[in-house]
Symmetry: C2
Subunit: 330 residues, 2 copies
């Protein structure tokens, strides 16, 4: 076993997080799709975190953090920077715990996500899209409000919360999965997934998927060192962030491989899900199925858990993406 | 108890149908939505038959019919007329049982639904939209092929199959529901729902919902006699049919009331589901939530099962409906 320079979440931590957040999130359904199975000659089990409260798995990590705060810390409020889903999830979790959320969001953030965070009562601070601008603005917000920062991915309570999705999925599939595939942006979901597969699964391979246009996880994974992306432009707005100092070592040790997918593949997979599964997923969610379609020999004959991470996209953007990539769709 | 001039499906019939179709359909998830609950101050439990095989509850009735046929009858193939969902469901059920499906569809049928029926290998016969044209064409198909007709709703095996959705829903909600609401077109789903609520529920009120623009069920229900619609134009293409000689008496006896909803309400409810629940429903599915929004005092403080009947709609039509009715949406 590799040594980490921090205490990675334990099996017990994840089980406790699951109990802690039980009343604040839902056990999302796992659904199957004959059309997808037929196409890749595998058995796919889709974990519908797009149907999670606040529309994504981010509610797990956000609730796990807020429900772990002391009453004194809760009074201070919470803050973060986020492109959207963590913002909405943290805003909701803060609302449930009767505390205040201050959230820095890039001015190019998906409008649906900004509206959702605002709906749950968060105070929004808009800034440029770069990581530097987000971090500078967040420091200012922290100084002015005294709020506790809840990082969207590079935070052990966040990782532990996100890990509960894979734990649930394994149980819902009677622990019969050969592979679990999850998207990777900052790596909170993928690192948590890998830990749960390690602790609760039986020889489950964990695979990551990310856009070619934001391939820092793949480059970092194969180089063995953190190589952040610089201002990536993929339509998968939830995956533009780069791995962090906690998520990267866990991924390096517990993830089997990472695939990158084209923007076209992301659009096709999103539409495949819309057409055949009657659920709405955002581009960041579609990288997993896109990776399966692009690499089907890896998945053929296997039982594969596919984490659909979120569904926060407006109908206008959905339509525009489907129209832009409609040629060649089948 | 009223006397019927036919044998209505019994409790045992429905339980047997549930077992018969178990391997051919899925137990669809029941999901909740805080935004909907908050709006109507009720607890809503959405039975997601839009996530059913072939995209609607119609797979239940179609499979129940085909799995009840003798080997001799199976060899003859099956036929029907349908605006879409029954067509796709029957085509799929025939495919699973290795028999042939011949399907008469109106030329104005939703393209997504025609494509789905064709995908499952059905032979499609196109005709005018009127009931007369559909029936004439079907007679011709029956004569030429010798296929067995499987009526989309006015057929006791169909009704019994559709009844299994409500039976499942009641069980999934630990038999705690006060009300179950279902859409009504030809009445297969509503009559089956009412029978299951009667047999398996505990004082569950069953309510129907239909478009104002196809309000034959409401008019028939309150007049106490069948009054068919003539060529109704509602966007809810699955609800343009009128009640039949089997479905109407069951509805008259076992349904508590029926609400009609405007086209605008249908569009708003569809979009509410898209925005807040991240699932795709077709207009016919949205009449139930539309009726709840329009009559919330009836549902307030109650536990309400809401059957979302189907999700077969293309993204282009979805977008057009949302755009056409976007003013005033909130």
């Amino acid at each position: 076993m590799t040594e980490f320079n921090f205490n990675i979440p334990t099996k017990k931590d994840i089980s406790e997080a699951e109990k802690r957040i039980r009343g604040s999130i839902v056990e999302t359904p796992v659904i199957t799709c004959d059309a997808a199975n037929d196409r890749v000659e595998a058995e796919l089990f889709f974990k519908c975190e797009n149907l999670q409260k606040a529309g994504s798995f981010k509610s797990r990590g956000a609730c796990n953090n807020i429900l772990s705060l002391s009453p004194e810390d809760l009074k201070r409020g919470v803050c973060t920077h986020s492109s959207g889903n963590h913002a909405a999830a943290l805003a909701r979790a803060a609302f449930l715990s009767k505390t205040k959320a201050y959230i820095v969001m890039p001015d190019k953030a998906d409008k649906t996500k900004v509206a959702l965070a605002r709906k749950y009562g968060a105070e929004i601070f808009s800034c440029d899209s770069t990581l530097a601008a987000r971090e500078t603005m967040l420091e200012q917000v922290k100084k002015e409000t005294g709020a506790i920062e809840i990082h969207p991915y590079n935070n052990l309570q966040t990782i532990t919360g996100q890990a509960t999705a894979c734990k649930e999925l394994l149980k819902q599939c009677n622990n019969s999965l050969d592979i679990v595939i999850a998207p990777v942006g900052g790596g909170g979901l993928l690192s948590g997934t890998a830990l749960s597969a390690h602790y609760f699964g039986e020889n489950v391979r964990v695979i990551g998927a990310e856009p070619e246009m934001a391939d820092d996880a793949t480059r970092s994974f194969y180089a063995g060192q953190l190589i952040p992306s610089e201002n990536p432009q993929t339509m998968a707005d939830g995956l533009r962030t780069s791995l962090g100092s906690y998520t990267f070592p866990i991924i390096l040790n517990y993830v089997y491989e990472i695939f990158t997918v084209s923007e076209e593949s992301i659009a096709y997979a999103m539409r495949f899900v819309f057409d055949n599964m009657k659920i709405v997923i955002e581009p960041s969610s579609a990288v997993t199925l896109a990776a399966i379609f692009e690499n089907f020999s890896v998945f053929a004959k296997k039982k594969v858990g596919v984490i659909l991470s979120g569904g926060n996209i407006g109908y206008g953007r959905l339509y525009n993406i489907f129209e832009a990539f409609k040629n060649g769709y089948c």
